[in-house]
Symmetry: C2
Subunit: 304 residues, 2 copies
């Protein structure tokens, strides 16, 4: 299928913009604190689908934004995402030994270095975003807008709030579907929406009042929730080899998931509906929206 | 002594600017994730001398910067400082139960919530600094400069790098005086210098090439190192009641300190010299530099 080939090629193109941005960083690493840099890079270079950076770059590209600034914003997003994974995996959090088929950061480095590496990546995201050289093609006001968007999505009103709800809900016998949705809207949804919105902002669409900003926000909100439902489904139906982690762990840990609350068929139905709604919100972009549509369908049908 | 009364009054004035800025924040706290906000506030409201915010405000005031923006920058600094304390106290780091006479954050809240509260404060610092309303009196370029300064001081090239050296040096039998200095230059010095520099930047002095920026940088570098040496001395000679923490813990934990490496008399001599050098670097400011001079002397003679 030609469309699939085009999608994969474009995906690789966005990925290589990100990888190049990462590679150009980390030139001068002080010897005395080399270990924390090494742990930060271990977290960053763990692979994964890189959906947040790709989403940011795809929206930026669609709307004609500066792709050099886009690559930098994409990198900052990936720093935030990977810091949250390192901290989530720590013994006092999920205590996970494996992530994407590799030992987690605190299994390779001392636990305290892993904690600091997470802090380092969180901080580094804001260092990257506040550097003026990478954003030379963008007005300073726009750059501040990117910083606000990321800080809002990553903080206690966003992702950290979702992680908090997750931890507290583990102690509950059951939680409502609406609290589960709220948790995921914050825990994974906020940063996915932020990625898409940063693409918008880079192209000069910065406000809630603008129709394009609103459409892209809706698209990414639906996509973010769909992404999480798919994750929950894969934990039941996925292939361990392909996923790079054991399946059935949600059920074993008595985690509240869309599958445990709704059952597998209803969760599958909701995933399909959300994907359709996400795609529908791209209608105004016509043919230009092809990559984002294919992206939504890729996330729906993914096996990892 | 009148001078001391003036100093205390001015100190209180700066403190109240900070406290008001903190109080105005935290208006809308979402119920579901209330616990992480509560833990963040517990960390923030633990008292302490607030030397970073006071230093930032004093330099901003001296150079005629916007004090409203200064209060916001001061608050961001205090968020970074307190996140680092919460993470430093965690079981995988220093495993401390007490800080400033109170139970540490993870003794009051679950350990995972304390971890997230630290992350939340780190993130919040950048949210505060990227908000445009608080910095209405400052050009957007200047605001970006503040963000860069903070991210550089707090990150792996700054404070986190110092924490890394600290952790790794614990495993060494002995370390050199120059590595000890390097560790403290990063671990505590970077953020103290950043506080002073942010005061400069707020007043429009943003570059290394400017003499005022250079003088204030020198002042705060000397001050930061002196501050740490005083800390090490107080751990030997201090009063537990006044300090709010047990003394002798450095020796007990075989920590490398200026006292353990140089001996008490030489450490005291170095503290005195650094304070004199700090004060000397303020010569150009004449009488206007009175508060910063008194501040350096206060840090020298403090008993807590």
């Amino acid at each position: 299928m030609n469309k699939m080939a085009d999608f994969k090629e474009k995906y690789r193109e966005y990925l290589s913009l990100l990888e190049e941005e990462i590679r150009q960083d980390w030139q001068e690493i002080p010897e005395e604190q080399e270990m924390v840099f090494s742990a930060m890079q271990y977290g960053l270079n763990g692979g994964g689908k890189r959906i947040r950076p790709v989403l940011c770059l795809a929206v930026c590209d669609l709307l004609g934004g500066d792709m050099k600034a886009g690559a930098r914003a994409a990198y900052a997003l990936e720093c935030i995402h990977n810091y949250s994974l390192i901290h989530d995996d720590l013994p006092c959090m999920d205590n996970d030994d494996l992530r994407r088929g590799r030992p987690t950061c605190h299994k390779v480095y001392p636990e305290n270095i892993a904690l600091l590496a997470g802090d380092g990546l969180l901080n580094h995201a804001f260092a990257l975003l506040s550097d003026r050289r990478a954003f030379a093609g963008v007005p300073p006001e726009t750059q501040l807008c990117l910083l606000r968007e990321l800080a809002a999505a990553a903080g206690a009103y966003g992702m950290i709030g979702g992680q908090t709800i997750d931890l507290l809900s583990e102690e509950e016998q059951e939680i409502s579907l609406s609290l589960l949705e709220q948790m995921h809207r914050l825990k994974t949804g906020a940063l996915i929406r932020c990625a898409a919105r940063m693409g918008c902002i880079l192209a000069g669409y910065t406000g809630e009042e603008e129709k394009i900003f609103e459409k892209i926000s809706t698209f990414s909100e639906k996509l973010g929730l769909a992404f999480q439902i798919k994750d929950d489904i894969l934990d039941v139906t996925g292939d361990e080899q392909v996923l790079g982690k054991p399946i059935g762990s949600d059920a074993e840990n008595e985690k509240k998931t869309f599958v445990s609350l709704m059952g597998l068929p209803a969760a599958g139905q909701k995933l399909k509906e959300l994907t359709e709604e996400a795609v529908a919100s791209l209608a105004d972009f016509g043919e230009d929206g092809w990559f984002l549509r294919a992206f939504a369908e890729f996330l729906l049908s993914r096996t990892y």
